[in-house]
């Protein structure tokens, strides 16, 4: 049986762990709300930007037409994988890793090569082990550390467009976790390039200034950056929601362990008191009889 001192120490340790998990749950809640607010605020902006691009896709040169219509023969896929920089967020990173492993397997079966850009370093090391001989993996360092994630997103978008234009890759997709509710999260694959656009029914004459291609050269990386930014916010929302749930579970577990330990502590204390009393009474009896 554990001594009173040992039990007291255990209770103290569990108490401090409980404080920590409870604080982490609160912090995750604040970060979750911030990311949700940012995602909602940028949604209208992204939508209007996409509408303008849809109007622009008439009469394009070949390279820009590929940006909208895609390439016929897709040999090299680019996956932008959104994981987290920190752990303690349940199975968030594990789910991403599993889905990417499945996708890479599918691409290999179809004779395609994969180029992976990891956003968040938790997925980088495990994914390095699953890529093939002709695949390539890189880590987008410090993406989440930047004061404005939109800046990191625009840098990443410009890099991805350069890869596309130099024929290193033929398609760009994002793998991220979407949060449907506090308990339901799913890993999704979202195609970012070729750009998905609404059919343009406006047949009126439109003036493009300076020219369609110059505007597209400027707008396409920007639009991709905004899409990456929104995906990153979606991923942060899921990560924080996952962290909140797991920290809530950890706090509850700590509570139940604490209550068990307290009962054990009280029983041990009671046992010790009873034992001491018995010893005193039997001692007193022995003296009285003697």
């Amino acid at each position: 049986m554990a001594t009173l001192k040992e039990l007291k120490n255990k209770i103290n340790v569990i108490n401090s762990t409980r404080k920590l998990t409870s604080a982490m749950k609160l912090v995750a809640g604040v970060k979750l709300r911030k990311a949700e607010q940012k995602a909602n605020a940028s949604r209208g902006y992204a939508l209007e930007l996409n509408k303008i691009l849809s109007r622009l896709q008439r009469g394009l040169l070949k390279i820009n037409s590929e940006i909208f219509n895609g390439r016929k023969n897709i040999k090299n896929e680019l996956l932008i994988v959104f994981s987290s920089d920190r752990g303690l967020c349940g199975n968030f990173n594990y789910l991403i890793h599993n889905e990417v492993a499945r996708l890479v397997n599918d691409f290999h079966e179809n004779g395609k090569n994969v180029h992976i850009i990891c956003v968040g370093n938790k997925a980088f090391s495990p994914l390095k082990k699953i890529i093939g001989k002709f695949d390539y993996i890189e880590l987008e360092e410090g993406f989440y550390q930047s004061p404005e994630i939109v800046e990191s997103s625009l840098i990443l978008a410009r890099k991805a467009i350069e890869y596309f234009k130099s024929n290193l890759i033929d398609r760009i997709s994002a793998v991220y976790t979407r949060s449907y509710s506090a308990l339901k999260r799913e890993v999704e694959l979202n195609e970012l390039l070729p750009i998905k656009f609404e059919p343009d029914n406006d047949k009126s004459i439109t003036i493009f200034e300076p020219s369609v291609d110059e505007i597209i050269d400027e707008l396409v990386p920007y639009n991709l950056g905004i899409q990456i930014y929104q995906t990153a916010l979606e991923s942060i929302t899921s990560e924080q929601s996952s962290r909140m749930t797991s920290m809530d579970n950890a706090t509850r577990n700590a509570d139940s362990i604490l209550s068990e330990l307290k009962i054990k502590y009280n029983r041990t204390r009671q046992y010790k008191i009873t034992q001491e009393l018995t010893e005193v009474i039997s001692g007193a009896n022995a003296i009285a009889e003697g």
Partner: protein, 82 residues
């Protein structure tokens, strides 16, 4: 005409306008009612929105952006000065 100026995360203007003057890459451009449809890249400068019955225009400083005008509706997607 309707004008809407959007920056990332915030709506800078949304409402009725009689005239909007924008810093297009090839020089300043004035958008009035029934202007021909246009998509124009914007450079660093000021978008000035003239509202009906208002004495002074609203000035919005931008870093760059794009303007889309069709069916008497102008939308400006801009990056604001940090």
């Amino acid at each position: 005409m309707q004008a809407k100026v959007l920056a990332l995360g915030k709506e800078l203007f949304n409402g009725e306008a009689v005239k909007v003057v924008v810093p297009a890459v090839n020089g300043e451009m004035c958008l009035l009612q029934n202007h021909i449809s246009t998509i124009t890249a914007l450079r660093q400068g000021c978008i000035r929105v003239f509202r009906p019955m208002a004495e002074r225009p609203i000035s919005i400083a931008i870093e760059r952006g794009v303007c889309s005008f069709s069916d008497n509706s102008a939308i400006f997607i801009v990056e604001t000065v940090a």
